[in-house]
Symmetry: C2
Subunit: 338 residues, 2 copies
Amino acid sequence: MATILILGAGVMGTALAVPASDNGHRVLLAGTPLDAVPVARMKAGGIHPKLGAPLAGTVTILTDEELGPEHAEAADLIVVGVSSPGIVWAVDRLNGLLGREKPVAFVTKGLDREGDRVVTYAETLPPRIAGMQSFIGIGGPCIARELAERYPTSSIYASCDRVAADFAAGLMRTPYYRLASSEDVTGVEACAALKNFFAIGVSTMQTRYPDRLRADGQSKNPTAAAFNQAAQEMALLCERIGGSRASAFDLAGIGDLHVTVGGGRNSRLGHGLGLGRTVSDVMSGELAGETVEGIDTARIVGSLLRQIENAETRLPLATAITSAVMDGGTLAFDFDRI
Amino acid sequence: MATILILGAGVMGTALAVPASDNGHRVLLAGTPLDAVPVARMKAGGIHPKLGAPLAGTVTILTDEELGPEHAEAADLIVVGVSSPGIVWAVDRLNGLLGREKPVAFVTKGLDREGDRVVTYAETLPPRIAGMQSFIGIGGPCIARELAERYPTSSIYASCDRVAADFAAGLMRTPYYRLASSEDVTGVEACAALKNFFAIGVSTMQTRYPDRLRADGQSKNPTAAAFNQAAQEMALLCERIGGSRASAFDLAGIGDLHVTVGGGRNSRLGHGLGLGRTVSDVMSGELAGETVEGIDTARIVGSLLRQIENAETRLPLATAITSAVMDGGTLAFDFDRI
């Protein structure tokens, strides 16, 4: 039995407590200041408001105030389960908590600029967190609610320290939470961010070309064409960021893109764009106040595209998504560009 | 303006007449003996019974009896649009028709055994057809009805004679029918057959793990995990058959798998299996008398698996689909095998 400290009691952090506790580990689940409602409810024995399944009684729920260095000290593995706006909190807390070196696994994803380069959390976080033994990135197709309800789910744990990736995957793997490991941490991190971005474009095709003869109202050829185009462009961008093309064609790339298209906020933005609406209109309408991670990624991808020769020809889908986000306009992607 | 002869007036052959005639080519569309009903209807100016769009008036419809060597002689490109049961007819007619060498593009897909080897039509058809200048394989995500209605569609034309592939793609490409070309004809042919097989397994997951909170009633993590697993196994089998892994991660592989899951007969078989039914039960029930191409492919894949060391561990999804088809039983795939 190990001790696993999870930072963030949002849907993903809380969902990860399920396989961890099913494996018999001691689980400490610590909420951010924004998790006050779910933390209070779970402390009272209730269910996370956005998840359908209760946690095991062996999971200890902690508020931000209760979380202390003794919890990090006891942990064999720390998992950061916050979404991207929570990463500042997580880095700050880790710096205050970590007395000696621990492996830390991150579900949180994001791209950033470092001078001319586009970099992932695998590059930016290690220098910012003293006491992190190894950085492990978690990617792959995982809707938190489904994991919490123990639907079969595949993910990939990546670290340039393969032993650390295998150690973390070994603690978390269950019969329903199937885990691969990889050394291509930059590639897994890049794809995990890029899939949100490309899901906007692929989801656009689901509503742009309706088919009244289908139960779901969607034609299938345009979406499949866009899915394949997204996979090819993701592989090219992943390589540019320093990862391996192979990661784009595996769990963190095509696997996660598959699940992200048709569900979630990136996809809802795409569905609006497919109806001819603008990014500004959708973001000030039904998505007002929501974090759409593909939008932040689009801004970074824009700077990457400017460095790639003939980007408009080689990456027409990425170019169209980026332009729509930058202008707040419509998604002007035409299939004759591919 | 070129002349394009299409053999087979089923849904796919007829749909291909749409981009061909939109490009201003003279199109000769010849039905097999089984196409008597759609041929009669289209000759009378009507619409193919399974397609929603009329053909251009410039398309000449021919019965099997009317088709003669003069039509092959006039053709710059011949396209074989029959489904797999029609390939014997097409080969027979080509041998009777071809006076001088012509490029022939095939939509028809199938795997076969040659001694110990598993081979595609790219290997078996050229020696059987005198007068075929070059064999071109057509792959990619293309539902015929959607192509006929000019929904954006991507496909790939492959030939070891790249000039021939580019020539054929050049004649057929339109603003809505987007065509790539490839020299990996064995890989494209292998994937185009394998995708039907794997679609059975991926579609099984759509009904096996229902989610009442979704509009379509389907959970998403298991299907995405199976889709990714299918892509990896398809790449391995494609390589074994003599193709390139890259073809599995492009239009003929993941692109076509995407469109095949959730629509068509292979998928309907999978949906039945997901409900715990047997292959025999579904095939003698709602699919009685129908050609489910993934079933024929499964028999060939079975012989391939027997040649691969640790196939059960390395190819658990292919193993499970093959076993179900061989026994006529249920699909016993458990995620803890991946």
